[in-house]
């Protein structure tokens, strides 16, 4: 089936938890270069909490599940990326209010709201070397795929490809925000840690839908 339903969502979050647990040390290492080394820890904690909160719900709507995940991440991971991911899920949930299932069109809305929420909360623009540099191509790709009527699996894989490319491109940028900003020119050449998180998310989502 080429849709995510409210029954699938708890399993998707479990998948998120698993990959962030796997990527924990890699993210810590990335964040240690020009940050405070907490990113692996906070993402693992945040998504574990989201999974627990979502699976504790009973027969909840897509919107409620996404919102619950956001609130759980905010509580468990009060770091920059924790709160931004929480914001993303909360804004995304509002964008798919009343949707019974998430296809390409709905997930395009979700990722646009996710990106806009993060950019607004973080007060950043594309090119500032933040997670938004990857969220932006994800959202834009999803819109295009929705317009061209692409199936969800295909759309997500294309979005993932554009995200990977954008992640690679963050190496050429100089950080403008957060702890990394203090390192200025030294951040050039280093892949942005928060952007890596966004790639992990879209890849896990694409893989999950492929297997549905």
């Amino acid at each position: 089936m080429d849709n995510i339903t409210k029954t699938n969502l708890p399993i998707l979050f479990e998948r998120f938890s698993e990959v962030f647990a796997e990527q924990k040390d890699a993210l810590i290492a990335l964040d240690s270069k020009v940050g405070d080394s907490d990113l692996g820890l906070t993402m693992a904690k945040g998504f574990a909490a989201a999974t627990a909160a979502v699976s504790a719900l009973e027969d909840a709507s897509v919107e409620t599940q996404l919102k619950t995940a956001g609130v759980a991440i905010a509580r468990a991971a009060p770091s920059t990326m924790g709160t931004l991911m929480a914001t993303g899920f909360m804004r995304g949930s509002a964008a798919v209010k009343d949707c019974e299932m998430l296809g390409t069109v709905q997930l395009a809305d979700f990722w646009v709201a996710f990106r806009d929420g993060v950019a607004q909360r973080g007060r950043v623009q594309v090119g500032d070397k933040t997670v938004v540099d990857v969220l932006h191509p994800i959202a834009e790709t999803m819109i295009k795929q929705a317009e061209s009527g692409a199936a969800l699996t295909e759309a997500l894989h294309i979005a993932y490809a554009s995200a990977s490319e954008a992640l690679e491109a963050t190496k050429d940028l100089v950080a403008q925000h957060g702890k990394a900003a203090a390192f200025q020119e030294k951040t050039r050449g280093i892949q942005d840690a928060g952007s890596t998180v966004a790639v992990i998310l879209i890849k896990a989502m694409a893989d999950f839908v492929s297997e549905l």
């Binding site: 905010a74 920059t80 709160t83 925000h177 200025q184």
Partner: protein, 333 residues
């Protein structure tokens, strides 16, 4: 690591336990030690909430008290409090007149306070936000909104706190805080690094004979690193950065804050003040209020900062007003 602590992970919570044991006039809500509030909120008053990382005492929670703030979200050392903690503090502090968020201009804090404000809005609590961005070393003129918030936020607390105590409206208190923010400039100098307990060693170094002018309170890059110089010369160099942005021709009244970053002896802060006063007088300023001591520290960092607030007829009496918190007492003469 030479510090008085037990398990570094418990450092912040044990510090808070000590504070609650010592000062019954403050307490915590939501079963979370890090949701720090005045024990007795003032009915009908605009609530003032601050927050930020630990390791800066008396900043932030130290200014919660009479004629100052009502609550603070307490983060880990140099870490933001969570939006949920800020929300819980907001809910307790709100007395129907709304809540002003007043904190330093750092990404993590901005994001979490904004989030808390959004959540508070769902609960029908009106919030407004003013951030301290007084550090002249952290962005050029024209980009003031990008500047870090450092010790000068004390003046924002003082002015907004006194205004709120006069039962002014949320808009009014926010306007006054914003005015104090726009009129405050700070420049710091660091002589040594500090140690975050969970890290256990200095996160950067300053050479045996070096100082860094403009370094941030978490060790962020400053303007120049150079050989340590005579106190008067250091002050002259620092004050030049402030004087480049403030003139005392039409309004000459100022308030001055000489802040120790942690390890610097009080004696040295007075040596710094001596020269600061000379320079300010020379520039035509009239020093109406002086605060000297530790107001915003970086654990055991050695160094100091100078903040100057340009007063006007509205701000002056608010800075003069009495205040009484467990960490800061001001008696109006």
């Amino acid at each position: 690591m030479k510090k008085f602590l037990n398990n570094p992970e418990n450092f912040v919570d044990e510090m808070l336990e000590g504070i609650y044991l010592a000062h019954p006039e403050v307490t915590n809500v939501a079963n979370d030690l890090r949701c720090f509030v005045r024990t007795e909120p003032v009915k009908g008053k605009v609530g003032l909430v601050t927050g930020g990382g630990s390791g800066h005492l008396p900043l932030f929670l130290g200014y919660v008290g009479d004629n100052m703030l009502d609550g603070a979200g307490v983060g880990g050392v140099f870490q933001s409090p969570s939006s949920e903690q800020i929300l819980e503090v907001t809910k307790y502090v709100d007395q129907g007149a709304g809540v002003l968020y007043l904190y330093g201009n750092y990404s993590g804090d901005l994001i979490n306070f904004d989030m808390a404000g959004e959540l508070a809005d769902f609960d029908g609590i009106k919030t407004a936000t003013v951030v301290g961005c007084d550090d002249v070393a952290s962005s050029v003129v024209g980009e003031e909104h990008k500047r870090r918030g450092v010790a000068g936020i004390f003046f924002l607390y003082k002015a907004a706190g006194a205004a709120a105590a006069q039962m002014k409206s949320l808009d009014e208190v926010a306007r006054i805080a914003e005015k104090a923010s726009v009129r405050t400039r700070t420049i710091g100098v660091a002589l040594s690094p500090c140690i975050v307990p969970e890290i256990g060693k200095p996160s950067f170094n300053i050479g045996e004979d070096e100082m860094e002018i403009g370094m941030g309170i978490h060790g962020e890059n400053g303007i120049t690193r150079k050989k340590m110089a005579a106190a008067d010369d250091v002050v002259d160099e620092m004050m030049a950065l402030i004087l480049a942005e403030q003139s005392y021709e039409t309004e000459s009244d100022v308030a001055v804050l000489i802040n120790g970053l942690g390890a610097t002896p009080l004696e040295e802060l007075y040596v710094i003040y001596r020269r600061t006063a000379q320079v300010l007088k020379q520039a035509g300023a009239n020093i109406r209020h002086v605060f000297i001591g530790e107001f915003a520290t970086s654990m055991e960092m050695a160094g100091a900062s100078i903040s100057v607030l340009k007063l006007d007829d509205e701000l002056e009496p608010l800075i003069a007003a009495g205040a009484n918190t467990p960490f800061f007492k001001h008696i109006k003469f």
